[in-house]
Symmetry: D2
Subunit: 89 residues, 4 copies
């Protein structure tokens, strides 16, 4: 479960990402240089990775850890690995 610090941090970053997406829309609308547009998309990519990694870390520290303590956690670990696999493709 997301805690207060991760939540505030994630929301702040997602707000910034929303602003970056709007910025890219403006760049496309103004027919700015393609390379600059792609570099901006790369920046959003990296910003999204950061959010995903923070949420994933928090998930392992809470849900996955709880499952490991109460049972062996195998189902939660399998679910996590499916998500990581999906994420890296």
């Amino acid at each position: 479960m997301i805690n207060t610090i991760t939540k505030e941090e994630a929301l702040k970053r997602l707000k910034r990402i929303e602003g970056q997406i709007k910025g890219i829309q403006k760049m496309v609308d103004q027919e700015r240089y393609c390379i600059d547009i792609i570099n901006q998309i790369t920046a959003v990519h990296n910003a999204l990775d950061s959010v995903a990694l923070k949420v994933m870390k928090r998930h392992i520290e809470t849900c996955v850890s709880d499952a490991i303590k109460s049972t062996d956690g195998k189902a939660k670990i399998a679910e996590l690995m499916d998500t990581v696999e999906h994420f890296i493709k």
Copy 2:
């Protein structure tokens, strides 16, 4: 240079991505299941890739092609490859 079709298509996709980002903000705010949040981020990732690839294709068809026709295009190709390298990391 982005042409009218690529532009409209890219703007439509970027609007949808903006909506997805707002959806993720809501998921974080409502403390939804971490795995669902990460999977949504993966979806935005893939959507951004699509936009970047479309812009890149258009860039090669226009700017890079023009440079190749008028000179050897080496500078434009080097710039493109730097962008691809940056993008895949």
Copy 3:
């Protein structure tokens, strides 16, 4: 710690990857079509991802799980997340 099944499976896959790398060397040496070479590199990429994900899963099921059970596992989780971050870049 890697167990017998993961180990045999990983070694089998790594042997196949070694063969694929040798195949790419031959393709380069024979000056085969660039696109075919890149597609072969993509195939090795995906094969390596599979091995890394299997090892990572096993690591969470053993080392990380043990650390979570005996303490809170925070150090092991932080180490894992650094590795994931490094891996996806």
Copy 4:
């Protein structure tokens, strides 16, 4: 088409990658720490990316450029973009 410099460079890097793969096999066989194995896989990943980017650059400088000069190059650009898309997934 791969030229002599790209070819020698690529072959040298692929030889090094083959050595790294053999090193990972040894690590797995010796049941070394999972995190170290994954980090080695990440290193091979990055080395493969470098080879792919070099081959791709060379491909654009030769085959794609020739196609752009003689016709519009649209088929070669489409083929290139499919390869990039496949590569980044």
